[in-house]
């Protein structure tokens, strides 16, 4: 079987692309659309991306492989150039490339039935196992993977080459960016938070309050190794990485990613000209290990990324993420002002906060549910009153809360129907 045979289905199931919620006049171009058939656990998916796209669904429904495929479609040549830079050659063996890119054992996600259509063009994924001859080779998508904590084992950053063949490319590339930031860009500064003024006060304060609790994130190079530490007030030595809270360990690489994406210019330049920059950001499970207040601080960073013009894609299991998307879409429908957005995030009326809030109301939002049965459903409206439970229960994310509420309502009604103790006693007396 040749690789060309692997993607033979010329007629993927067609479903109409979603219409963005809100003011259509804001949308200038057609949303990028990715259609996938028979990709790992995904039987059929048709996603039109918004300025913010959120994907939800139970474990092992193909969300991650779908997003990694998107990265490959967007950054094909930059990925091949990175492998080449690290002396990794696949000798045109597509299977080996897939294992090197997606991770060991994942090349089997493709079968003879698999097919892809990206921005209206049918794509043979086998072609993507080789670089193209395009002159555009800069990175366009920054990917913050779910395994991001592995980029800082023991608080020391890892470069691309320190990982092994079969470790996912997205983790290696992210880790490399964090490594560069810690060892070079911020290495001499000594303090990573709240220090370098990479984020404005609006973004910094919630992180300070909800994630670091007034402690300082520092680079400790006492042992001739640049190691992250947490400086706690009143203590001489910084806390070692493994003594931090799980949420702090999860959040720190995410913060490094945000620093990388928020230079003094609007977007991160990755090519030779200012126009050659990052356009897309993928963040897998931004809520990992965080209290809802911490998640809200992260979501504020997401709104800042969108304000800077990045197209953001999130995967999540958190109702907080969907609460935000739901609220922003409702504000757009209701013609609400930026003050409503600030109310959600408990932000003061400062120019920076207003800018972020205002920008959020001009964006398009999309939400997709990856179902266990392999289908992918557009649930962008997130209508809690929708007839379809996939939409009303937000892809199962609020299903448990709904069942809990209803069970309590029923139990309350049932307890009210029982005769009271006093009445029972009176009845027994009369007998």
């Amino acid at each position: 079987m040749t690789m060309a045979d692997l993607f033979g289905d010329p007629n993927p199931k067609k479903t109409p692309p979603r219409q963005p919620v809100g003011n259509k006049s804001v949308r200038k171009t057609k949303p990028p659309r990715l259609q996938v058939n028979h990709l790992g656990p995904v039987a059929s998916a048709d996603l039109a991306f918004g300025d913010l796209t959120v994907i939800v669904g139970p474990q092992a429904t193909g969300k991650s492989i779908f997003l990694q495929t998107l990265k490959l479609l967007v950054d094909r040549d930059q990925i091949h150039d990175t492998f080449k830079h690290h002396s990794m050659s696949f000798n045109d063996k597509a299977g080996a490339f897939m294992e090197g890119y997606f991770g060991r054992g994942l090349s089997g996600a493709w079968s003879a039935k698999s097919s892809l259509t990206w921005k209206g063009k049918s794509v043979d994924l086998a072609d993507y196992a080789k670089p193209s001859k395009s002159t555009t080779r800069h990175e366009r998508m920054f990917y913050i993977p779910a395994q991001r904590v592995m980029s800082l084992p023991g608080g020391v950053s890892q470069n691309f080459g320190q990982f092994n063949f079969g470790d996912p490319y997205t983790l290696r590339a992210f880790s490399d960016a964090v490594h560069d930031l810690i060892q070079n860009e911020f290495g001499a500064k000594g303090e990573l938070f709240p220090g370098p003024n990479r984020l404005n006060d609006t973004l910094r304060k919630p992180i300070q309050n909800h994630l670091f609790g007034g402690n300082r994130l520092v680079i400790d190079d006492k042992d001739f190794t640049k190691r992250l530490g947490l400086h706690v007030k009143g203590q001489d030595k910084p806390l070692g990485f493994l003594s931090w809270s799980a949420g702090q360990r999860e959040f720190t690489p995410l913060l490094m990613g945000a620093y990388w994406l928020c230079p003094t210019t609007n977007r991160r330049k990755t090519g030779k000209t200012v126009d050659e920059c990052i356009e897309w950001v993928v963040i897998e499970e931004p809520e990992m290990g965080l209290h809802p207040q911490g998640i809200s601080a992260v979501l504020l960073l997401v709104l800042e990324l969108m304000r800077r013009g990045y197209k953001v894609v999130l995967s999540t299991h958190s109702p907080v993420v969907l609460d935000m998307v739901w609220a922003l879409q409702e504000f757009k429908k209701l013609g609400s002002s930026e003050a409503s957005v600030r109310q959600v995030f408990d932000l003061p009326s400062t120019p920076d906060a207003k800018k972020i809030a205002q920008s959020a109301l001009t964006k398009d939002y999309a939400v997709y549910y990856f179902d266990r049965d392999g289908s992918v459903q557009d649930i962008s409206n997130l209508n809690p009153g929708a007839m379809d439970t996939a939409e009303s229960e937000w892809g199962g994310i609020s299903g448990f809360a709904t069942r809990t509420n209803n069970a309590i309502a029923d139990a309350v009604a049932e307890s009210e129907s029982r005769p009271s103790k006093r009445r029972k006693a009176r009845k027994q007396e009369s007998i």
């Binding site: 009153g385 709904t402 309350v412």
Partner: protein, 176 residues
């Protein structure tokens, strides 16, 4: 002979008084056939479970409007006869769910209804409210079709509803 015949026919078509009708009359409410007390625009949203039948309905709000103009009055009571002949009453309030602010209004209406059910006149209706044939809470919030639902399951207000024995608003009801 002819007069006798007419009399016989009249007797044959005379409506059988349901348990719900009788309970409604005791409470001083005017029972209507089927779902007829419910405003026509909401009727299609209310169905009965397979095997059951509507045994009557009352417009509670309309009845108490003049006497209690300032109260947050509950709208409808609907009688349901189950397959085994048992009769229940389900209390339905069509109301917008456009914001969590509506939850407080619904809870006031529910408190008003529960107070009414504690009065002697409502004794039979109360018994039918708490009859064992109910599959869950007998109180239903019917979301009005035109309005959006903006009450999320994770909200504090959704939990308040539950604590008062009221399920989340829905656009269609299948009673009981």
């Amino acid at each position: 002979m002819a007069a006798k015949g007419v009399k016989k026919t009249k007797t044959a078509t005379k409506k059988k008084i349901s348990g719900f009708d009788s309970a409604a009359c005791d409470a001083g409410l005017l029972p209507n056939a089927g779902k007829e007390a419910v405003e026509s625009s909401y009727r299609a949203q209310i169905q009965v479970n397979k095997g059951g039948a509507f045994s009557g309905s009352v417009d509670v709000d309309g009845h108490f409007r003049a006497a209690e103009p300032q109260s947050h009055r509950w709208d409808y009571g609907i009688g349901i006869q189950l397959m085994n002949g048992q009769e229940l009453v389900c209390w339905v309030e069509p109301h917008p769910a456009s914001s969590t602010g509506q939850v407080a209004k619904m809870l006031e209406k529910l408190a008003w209804l529960k107070n009414k059910l504690e009065t002697p006149a409502f004794k039979k209706l109360k018994a039918m409210t708490h009859a064992p044939g109910h599959t869950g809470s007998p109180y239903y919030w019917l979301r009005t079709v035109s309005g959006e639902c903006r009450i999320s399951a994770n909200s504090r207000e959704a939990r308040l509803l539950a604590l008062h024995g009221l399920r989340m608003p829905t656009q269609h009801l299948t009673l009981p």
